[in-house]
């Protein structure tokens, strides 16, 4: 899964314009970092070391500084992930409502097998996450940018099909 093709810069053309718009909201360039990293992930699916170097150039930061920030925030992927990234909340409120069974169901039906592993077809990566802020709708699951509420193990096969 590691990138072998040449690195494609993110901050050109429209993206550069979008970033400039974001930067205009803050009195300091560095404040645009989280947004810039979101743009990187949107384009590449993860935040590679090369992308950190590019972002560093654009924002006048160092790649090391950016790596410190990237590794702080769990939503930035430090490695490539499956086409659909599945995050199942297993924190206590969801946990007591059966969230771990939902995780099991995803691991089984996506073929991922293990948490954090990508399925052989490259379609899915499943991880457990901490509270998604939707505890009344146990179990909430994020599939890429979508939050699906009230997921039960029974609903998992259909969801997997839908996102395949």
């Amino acid at each position: 899964m590691e990138q072998t093709t040449e690195y494609a810069p993110v901050f050109t053309g429209d993206n550069r314009k979008r970033l400039d718009e974001v930067l205009a909201r803050y009195p300091a360039k560095r404040a645009g970092l989280l947004a810039a990293l979101w743009m990187v992930q949107e384009q590449h699916g993860w935040v590679s070391d090369e992308a950190m170097a590019e972002t560093a150039d654009v924002l006048g930061l160092t790649p090391s500084y950016i790596k410190g920030v990237v590794t702080f925030y769990t939503m930035y992927h430090q490695h490539p992930v499956g086409k659909t990234f599945v995050q199942v909340c297993t924190t206590t409120p969801c946990n007591i409502c059966g969230a771990e069974e939902v995780v099991e169901a995803f691991l089984e039906h996506t073929g991922c097998g293990d948490l954090g592993a990508t399925s052989p077809d490259g379609k899915f990566t499943v991880i457990e996450v901490e509270c998604l802020g939707a505890c009344g709708f146990a179990t909430p699951v994020m599939m890429n940018e979508d939050v699906i509420e009230n997921v039960t193990p029974e609903k998992v096969p259909d969801l997997v099909k839908q996102y395949s």
Binding site: A53, P63, S64, I66, K67, G68, V69, T71
Partner: protein
């Protein structure tokens, strides 16, 4: 400073008055109490993260951190109360749960702040016995620095130094929680000119110097205050020696010059001090051949060679020679019309430590240009070499004579070479006198700001080599123009009497942080 408001407080029963805005930790130092701490370092912005410096402030229910809490009038601080002791013991216990017990092979042992505080305030037993310690491999951060993550206590001193002092954030804290470690981007290296300071700043053996790796144990080292001769900044240093060998240079804090830091050029600038190819005995020219002799003969020969007067003399001196040497050499040729000269290596540009105004690896790569200039030496080496022709006398002190031929030296009637290493051209001299290098003598240097600073002898000189001030003092005595000098201090006193620039200064009032020539003039 004098008109700054003072705050009076009591720390462990001792009353102290300190300027408003001082932290409790700094105030405690004045009360003679060291509050244990890790993340705090006077040369770095305050982080307040290790929570080691917890202390009790009467009237405040929670423990406070001494490193970030400012003093208040009438405050009563307890450093060794039960609650604070328990809290610090607990911090130590937390720090040790993943810390290897590899002190016997750790370079930091003996100067480790973890080892020290655990000894003073730690628990005697471990309650973490049942669990495996986390293990991560050693990482090469580039340049001279290795990172041993297992030993890291995440005090962030190294990160803050690079970010706020060097202003080049090459290190980061990566990840969160107990998975956190000090990280670096794979394309980055710790090759900033001032990066080596992170090794000194690291309170444990987590950042280590490859150069110093397994060279010596801390308790085997002798530490001698000195001044770096790498450039005209004049950073204060300690020379760490083991069995008469300089094994490491570390910064010695001086708020006026280098705060707590030195550059990597200076840090690595010590191998020459240990050179083995030294001149170990006086050499006298007999039939074109240099032959070893003893000091008695050498000194009377020296007196004979310089005893003339009325003609011209040339002195070529190293800009790293001590003021004492420069002064005595000048005095030695006083009866002549003298050309006093030095030369200095200059590179393009300075390498500043951005976060410390006034601190840089200077383009001028010698330590005593200002002293030489104050004593009348001119930065006009080539003209001085020209002037050798037809001169009665040429004296070379510690210049390596690079680019000067044996024949050029012989164009003077008499030539004396005083130095540590024998360059080929020096073989043209009638007399060669072996002297100590900077690590082997006491002396003073003047930095670019006119600060006169002392350095002390850290190791013995080889063979019969003697400090320049002693040698020149003896020659003057032979000539009937002075008494034997017993210390560099005496040589300095002669200079302070004779030379306006040094008036009012003495070893006693220079102390180990030095004084500027202008300060001295004001106080005279």
């Amino acid at each position: 400073m004098a008109d700054q408001a003072l705050v009076t407080l009591t720390i462990e029963g001792v009353e102290v008055s300190v300027p408003k805005g001082t932290t409790i930790l700094e105030a405690a130092k004045q009360a003679g109490v060291l509050i244990p701490h890790y993340c705090y370092h006077p040369g770095l912005p305050i982080a307040g993260v290790c929570r080691m410096c917890l202390i009790e402030v009467e009237g405040t229910p929670k423990l406070q951190i001494g490193c970030a809490t400012e003093v208040a009038q009438g405050q009563v601080v307890k450093v060794f109360g039960d609650e604070a002791l328990k809290a610090r013991e607990s911090v130590l216990e937390f720090l040790l749960i993943n810390h290897p017990l590899d002190c016997p092979i750790c370079d930091q042992a003996g100067e480790c702040e973890l080892q020290n505080y655990v000894f003073q305030e730690g628990r005697s037993n471990t309650r973490y016995a049942e669990y495996a310690k986390r293990f991560s491999p050693v990482e090469d951060f580039g340049a001279d620095v290795l990172y041993v993550p297992n030993r890291c206590i995440l005090c962030t001193r190294c990160v803050r130094f690079m970010e706020h002092v060097a202003e080049e954030p090459v290190l980061n804290v990566s990840e969160r929680g107990d998975r956190a470690f000090i990280g670096i981007h794979p394309d980055a290296t710790l090759d900033h000119e001032w990066a080596g300071n992170v090794v000194d700043l690291c309170p444990v053996g987590s950042l280590i110097s490859k150069d110093f790796l397994h060279k010596a144990r801390a308790w085997e080292l002798d530490r001698t205050p000195s001044v770096c001769t790498g450039c005209s900044q004049g950073c204060n240093i300690n020379l760490d020696t083991r069995s008469d060998v300089v094994v490491r240079i570390r910064p010695r804090p001086n708020p006026e010059v280098n705060r707590h830091f030195i550059c990597d050029t200076g840090r690595m600038h010590y191998r020459w001090m240990n050179r083995g190819d030294r001149i170990e005995a006086p050499l006298i020219s007999r039939g074109g051949e240099l032959q070893a002799t003893d000091w008695d003969h050498a000194l009377s020969e020296a007196a004979r060679l310089v005893s003339g007067s009325g003609g011209r003399a040339v002195v070529l001196i190293s800009p790293n020679a001590s003021n004492e040497a420069m002064f005595l050499a000048k005095r030695l040729v006083a009866q002549f019309t003298a050309t006093l000269a030095f030369r200095v290596e200059r590179v393009d540009g300075e390498i500043p430590l951005s976060g410390v105004p006034g601190l840089a690896l200077r383009a001028e790569r010698a330590a005593n240009v200002a002293g030489a200039t104050a004593l009348g030496y001119r930065d006009d080496f080539d003209a001085a070499v020209q002037a050798i022709e037809g001169a009665s006398l040429v004296i070379v002190v510690a210049d390596d004579l690079e680019g000067v031929s044996r024949e050029a030296l012989q164009k003077a009637v008499n030539a004396v070479y005083i130095g540590t290493i024998l360059p080929d051209a020096a073989r043209g001299a009638a007399l060669v006198l072996p002297v100590a290098n900077t690590a082997e003598e006491d002396g003073t240097l003047v930095n670019r700001d006119g600060r006169v600073q002392r350095y002390l002898q850290a190791k013995s000189a080889p063979g019969m080599a003697r400090p320049v001030w002693w040698v020149l003092g003896e020659v003057l005595k032979e000539l009937g123009r002075g008494e034997s000098l017993f210390s560099a201090d005496e040589a300095f006193a002669l200079m302070a009497e004779a030379e306006g620039s040094f008036r009012g200064l003495s070893y006693a009032n220079l102390g180990m942080h030095g004084r500027t020539m202008s300060e001295a003039r004001v106080s005279v």
